[in-house]
Subunit: 211 residues, 2 copies
Amino acid sequence: MNVEPIPLRPNTKRQENERIILKAAEKVFAEAGYGGATMQLIADVAGRPKANIHYYFQTKEQLYRRVVDRIFKIWLQAADAFDGAKGPAEGIGAYIDAKMEISRKHPHGSKVWASEVMHGAPIIQDYLEVKLVEWTKDRAEAIQNWIDQGLMDPISPRHLLYMLWATTQHYADFGHQVETLNGGAPLTDAQWQEAKASVKMIVLKGIGVPR
Amino acid sequence: MNVEPIPLRPNTKRQENERIILKAAEKVFAEAGYGGATMQLIADVAGRPKANIHYYFQTKEQLYRRVVDRIFKIWLQAADAFDGAKGPAEGIGAYIDAKMEISRKHPHGSKVWASEVMHGAPIIQDYLEVKLVEWTKDRAEAIQNWIDQGLMDPISPRHLLYMLWATTQHYADFGHQVETLNGGAPLTDAQWQEAKASVKMIVLKGIGVPR
DNA sequence: GTCTATACACTGATAGAC
DNA sequence: GTCTATCAGTGTATAGAC
């Protein structure tokens, strides 16, 4: 069995190639879905022969999992905005900002994640059952604390989280629809600001957080 | 070229068979995506030989389009709840109720629609550009009227609509995630009521509609 | 109308030359 | 490490018997 050599300094050539392939794969998986994506198309987008993709990622599923890994880590990082906040205005406001930025900067990754969950999470169910369950439990408790301190209305923390996820991810996952309804043009900087402000205004007022 | 015979009374045999196949196809497309779905699997779920599917729907794409047609019509029907309402409390409240019911009753169709839009609407772009654009324009104007009458806060009608779509569809499209976070069990009747009430409470208060 | 058998294209993956 | 050539398997779709 061949063992991957472990250089003292990271193998930058390999890292660079993997980066290029992962970027192409994310785009193709987002646009065609897992079943619709082909290794040939990913290779074409990455500008390499198909066999080269198989050299770095043995199977389609391994490549896909790496793509999902990446977006899930970014998704979890947005929680930093949540933590250490003094109260709901700061915490939830910053979380909305962070999630909207992810929708803007990583629309492909967001779609891959959404697609995966929508199809029953056949590949990453372990993430959902462990990491996401823990994450959600912790944040729901944080929200409950704010409620107990009288900083916001006594709403269901869980359903509030769903609303935050749904609303912010809509701008990535349904970006094509939003664009079509915007006259076929992508949202401008000003329109993204307006979107963020609208979401924050409605949600924060909706849960009784003074501005 | 063969022309479909047009019986005076609808061909109920054909209608019944098409209904069964469409139901199976909706489920398979929802769970596997367009590219991941196979005619063989649809045939298996429908309990018929594959060639029979091709007899009623010549190609995979034609079958898919019929599935999308169906959910889009249901989606538009929910607008009835919106129309003829006296004000935002009634109109938007009823619309949320209607959309939540769709998420509950037609989770497969909702996922097919979401998948299609997420992948750039390759099949139904014409719907988006004509029907959905008109629909959205009309409802945005209705909301603007309510704002002008001082019945609600001056928020962006368009972003409010996105929030309504995103939040209500989340319970269908991300139903698997919701279920996982619910301890692996589907939402009970009471939990669906709680979800509906939470969404309505936060949104209506968030846009300044008195309860 | 229905089903079996099959044509034909394309898929993921690998072997082996360089 | 990289690429060409190729394999085994599966996909959509159809021809033709019943």
